[in-house]
């Protein structure tokens, strides 16, 4: 080993705790990047392989009942590749031993061969025997949630009749990677399941022989114009058969969630690591500047011995490179482990029959390369000033630092300040850029923490508003067909039912000029108490006027404002088309919806019965018996429990978000500690001589500690409000990035989030201060008097 390399290693060893602190910041950035890249790459590759192998469709459409011959017309739409028609029905499921109501989808599989599109991946068991009516495949998560095995039986409640189903296989489908039921935010496999049956038997049970009610197709190419044209034509073909409006793959629920998750991984996986790497570069530069300043005379001596500027420059660049390389190494290993753990969590909620583990090596190399380049630039900046000095000049000690009276003092505060306080202020104001960057560094740690916790706050707020203010029913019942008012009385008469409110939804297309939106209009009875519409301040809005109320997002999409007229094309019954005035907009958190007062909706649809659901408040003591009775009612298509929805969201938050949050918080602490600790060590190094002098002339340890820690304290205290502000700004940005038609997270930051984040930053300071204070105790008072710096 060359002498200079030995010097490098020993120099690094001497400042090992600082080197480690910086390396850990680097490794946090790299780990987050590798993790996000790994999860993103794996999910993306896995998804694409899955979609290709199991022929995930490009366009999806539902209808009431379409004769089979129409399939020819659909296949003839220009640009359409394959077409798959199906029968899909919503049913109640009855699993022996489970009293809770369970909703399900029964999906048809062709009698012979595999489906052309949206094929199922068999996990266990076998495919269906077309001659046996009772056979069914069941979705994997549903089977797991209920402990169902091959040969087990369950029942689909069809028109009040319990149709027994025998499980012969467990399957997955690309349509249900994220297998949520209607209106759900996260999958709840205990209360919602997918099953597949042979088409002939399913059609017979639902009087769908000779027809279909669901169609999927692929397009020959992916151009958006072709997709739009195909959708328009498909809608035109299906309209007479109760078409519910076709959607492209991008809007398909499962795929939308998956895509949303991927986009988040992509942006968060780049943005957050960048913050870490920027902070690490700054720290490297500061520490190297200090190292070079201390080694000024050594550098001069080496130059006098004949080492070139380039060689010496390289020496200090190596210093930075070693630190980054160490960080990168730790980061890559940690990132790969984290990616695996995160994928494990993802695989719980996003189900694939295969997993292609893919880490983008080039992505990691680019990240490491960028960090190395940044470190090199930082190192060169630090070294240049000294390396460029002639040796003779460099061998003399650096002239005393120039100081000025700080701005704060000049503004009049001077006479109130003790000399030590002035030292602190002037030390800070002499390197304002460094002070500001330190503050920004610490603040970014605070901001990351705020974002982490605020996500939880938002979710809590969403749940609170959605499940305590908007939806206050214990359960909701949906019917196969609109029912008469008497059905409400029937429900009210059931034992344990305390309150019933009818609801209804009507599928409709809203139009304003060329802008249109496929949606459902929700009918609300005047004075409804169980399902309400609320304004921005979460106060209930009375729907007592005829007219339409839209989610703000929906109104924006249609570019309409209260007072404007919206064209409503009803997609049920006689499919009337009417102009309706928009009376108000509301900021929905879950989903986008159109609301109308019940009677005006009835007039619009020109039908007496628009009620196809009901909200119930029930006596919890009677719930089991009530569930049984509801399942037996022929008109009931499904029963949804509020508590189950709440529970599944909470579990999801605990599983998924909290892991991501803990990882972020842990790394944020590393940043906070890395910046504060290094700041403390640098100022200790810069002021140790002064502090020792003060000790000699009689200052106590506590007094000199307060000078050093005063500097840290000021930086930290300045960083905390900035961090909170920055965090609030980031969370606002993150939330608007999250905003979608499916949910909108309210920007809510609980005061405790600010308190906890500030406390964590302060805690990092206390730990750093405590570590450095011990070094302060070991100051060599005698040595410092004998040497110039």
């Amino acid at each position: 080993m060359r002498a200079l390399d030995r010097k490098l290693l020993r120099d690094l060893w001497n400042v090992r705790s600082q080197v480690l602190a910086i390396a850990l910041v680097v490794s946090s950035g790299i780990a987050l990047l590798v993790m996000a890249q790994g999860v993103f790459g794996s999910l993306l590759t896995t998804r694409d392989a899955y979609y290709t192998r199991y022929a995930f469709a490009d366009v999806f459409a539902g209808a009431k009942r379409v004769p089979n011959w129409v399939e020819q017309r659909i296949a003839a739409i220009p640009g359409v590749g394959k077409v798959q028609t199906r029968v899909v029905v919503a049913v109640s499921l009855d699993v022996p031993g489970v009293s809770d109501p369970i909703n399900g989808r029964l999906i048809s599989l062709p009698e012979r061969g595999r489906p052309a599109l949206n094929d199922v991946a068999l996990r266990r068991g076998r495919f269906l025997d077309p001659d046996r009516a009772e056979e069914a495949l069941v979705g994997e998560r549903f089977a797991e949630a209920h402990g169902l095995d091959l040969g087990d039986r369950l029942f689909a409640v069809i028109n009040g009749r319990r149709q027994p189903l025998e499980i012969v296989g467990v399957a997955l489908s690309p349509e249900f990677v994220y297998g949520i039921g209607p209106g759900e935010l996260v999958p709840d496999p205990k209360h919602f399941g997918f099953l597949w049956m042979t088409r002939r038997h399913l059609a017979t049970a639902f009087e769908m022989e000779g027809g279909f009610n669901d169609v999927a197709l692929t397009l020959t190419d992916r151009s958006p114009s072709l997709e739009r044209a195909a959708i328009v034509e498909l809608d035109a073909i299906l309209d007479p058969y109760g078409g519910l409006g076709a959607i492209p793959r991008a809007d398909q629920t499962s795929n939308w969630y998956l895509q949303n998750e991927l986009s988040q991984l992509e942006t968060m996986g780049l943005l957050v690591p960048l913050i870490f790497l920027a902070v690490a570069t700054f720290l490297l530069n500061v520490v190297l500047r200090r190292t070079v300043a201390v080694q000024r005379e050594q550098i001069a001596a080496l130059k006098a011995l004949g080492y070139s500027n380039v060689r010496l420059g390289a020496h200090y660049v190596q210093w930075a490179v070693v630190v980054v390389a160490l960080g990168a190494l730790i980061g890559i290993v940690a990132g790969l482990l984290l990616a695996e753990a995160m994928l494990g969590v993802y695989m719980e909620y996003f189900r694939f029959p295969l997993l292609v583990y893919k880490v983008s090596v080039s992505g990691i190399l680019i990240a490491v390369g960028v960090s190395l380049a940044a470190a090199t630039v930082g190192a060169l900046g630090a070294v240049r000033s000294v390396v460029s000095l002639p040796p003779a000049e460099a061998m003399r000690p650096a002239p005393p630092e120039n100081f000025r009276v700080s701005l704060f003092e000049r503004l009049g505060a001077r006479r109130w300040l003790s000399q030590p306080a002035r030292m602190v202020l002037r030390n800070l104001s002499r390197r304002p850029v460094r002070a500001v960057l330190s503050i920004v560094g610490i603040a970014s740690a605070g901001a990351i923490m705020v974002v982490g916790w605020a996500m939880m706050d938002s979710m809590d707020e969403l749940l609170e508003v959605q499940f305590n203010i908007i939806q206050r029913q214990d359960l909701s019942v949906s019917f196969f067909e609109p029912v008469e008012r008497s059905a409400v009385h029937e429900l009210a008469a059931l034992p344990g039912v305390m309150q019933v409110e009818p609801t209804g939804t009507v599928a409709a297309r809203l139009r304003n000029g060329h802008r249109q939106k496929q949606t459902a209009i929700q009918a609300l009875a005047p004075g409804a108490r169980l399902r309400r519409v609320v304004d921005v301040d979460y106060r209930a809005i009375e729907l007592d006027r005829p007219g339409l109320v839209l989610s703000t997002l929906l109104a924006e999409q249609l570019q309409v404002e209260p007072g404007d007229e919206v064209v409503v094309e009803v997609m049920e019954a006689a499919r009337p088309v009417r102009e309706v005035v928009l009376t108000d907009t509301v900021d929905d958190l879950l989903g986008v919806t159109a609301y109308m007062e019940q009677e005006s909706l009835q007039r619009l649809v020109r039908r007496d019965e628009t009620m196809n659901g009901a909200m119930l408040r029930i006596d919890s003591l009677a719930e089991e018996r009530l569930y049984g009775l509801l399942k037996a009612m022929p008109a009931v298509a499904g029963v949804t429990l509020r508590s189950a929805a709440l529970q599944s969201i909470r579990t999801y938050m605990l599983d998924n978000m909290s892991m991501m949050m803990s990882v972020n918080l842990f790394f944020a602490l590393i940043i906070a500690f890395g910046v504060i600790y290094n700041t403390a060590r640098i100022s200790l190094s810069e002021t140790s001589r002064e502090l020792a002098s003060l000790r000699v002339i009689g200052f106590t340890r506590a007094e000199i500690s307060s000078i050093l820690l005063g500097e840290l304290g000021i930086l930290t205290l300045a960083a905390i409000p900035l961090g909170l502000l920055l965090g609030y700004g980031m969370i606002t940005g993150v939330m608007s990035a999250f905003e979608s038609e499916l949910f909108r997270l309210p920007v809510v930051v609980d005061p405790s989030t600010f308190v906890v984040s500030a406390a964590a930053v302060l805690g990092s300071m206390v730990i750093s201060a405590w570590t450095v204070r011990r070094k302060l105790h070991d100051l060599d008072l005698v040595a410092v008097l004998k040497t110039r710096e």
Binding site: N402, R404, Q419, M423, S693, E703, L785, R788
Partner: protein
């Protein structure tokens, strides 16, 4: 006045009895002091002379409460410095000792006045910083930072800082070591003035024999032992010293 003080108060300010100091440097033991007996009297201006390695700095550090002897006893008036703990030594330095160092050890971020105020803020009955600086001839440099002053000026600020708390003893370690002759003389003049006007007991260590001409007493050290202890019959003014 120094002579008077000596006559009327035979009790010494400092008394050292059999003081040894051994530094363990890795595997080598360095005997810096090998059994020193020494007394310093009230108001005395003493020069401790010796080549480097003679133990004079170690002696000064022990007198100043920066270091403790390995063996032997050191008393300051009635207090035992050799037994004092860290806190007691800090208190001792804070109340009784003024230090002047070879490299000044000023705080670069504080002006001349503020460097002195650093001490007067924690002292019981201090001289005003402006007066202390006037005493060393720097009343026109009050608001200059160290980087704006010459070495001699910086050293005189250091002296002003040392005496502003009215210390009982002023300990100077090679105060002219980093200075050229003319600025060195100005610094010695300041020390002389402090000693005569304030009556502060002063110990100056140096390897520069010329300085001994201005002392009441010259103590020579070599190899950890006192080799001679001479009282000057006449003190020469600092301005007449040459080297």
């Amino acid at each position: 006045m120094p002579a008077q003080a000596l006559a009327s108060h035979p009790a010494p300010v400092f008394a050292m009895r059999g003081v040894t100091k051994v530094y363990v440097m890795g595997e080598v033991e360095v005997h810096a002091l090998r059994g020193v007996d020494l007394e310093l009297q009230e108001g005395e201006f003493a020069v401790l002379l010796g080549p480097s390695g003679s133990g004079k700095s170690t002696l000064l550090n022990i007198l100043g409460g920066l270091d403790r002897p390995t063996a032997g006893q050191v008393t300051y008036r009635e207090g035992d410095l050799s037994e004092a703990g860290e806190r007691a030594l800090t208190r001792y330095r804070r109340r009784h000792v003024g230090f002047v160092f070879q490299f000044y050890n000023l705080i670069p971020s504080l002006t001349a006045r503020e460097n002195v105020a650093l001490v007067t803020e924690i002292a019981g009955d201090p001289i005003a910083p402006e007066d202390a600086l006037a005493l060393v001839g720097l009343k026109y440099r009050l608001d200059h930072f160290p980087s704006q002053m010459s070495g001699g000026e910086q050293q005189r600020v250091a002296i002003a800082r040392a005496i502003a708390k009215r210390p009982d003893v002023l300990l100077c370690d090679e105060p002219t070591g980093a200075l050229d002759i003319s600025t060195g003389i100005a610094v010695l003049g300041a020390l002389e003035k402090v000693n005569s006007e304030l009556g502060t007991t002063t110990a100056v260590i140096t390897h520069n024999a010329a300085i001994s001409a201005m002392a009441d007493r010259v103590i020579s050290l070599a190899d950890g032992l006192i080799t001679s202890d001479v009282r000057n019959s006449t003190k020469q003014p600092a301005v007449t010293i040459e080297w």
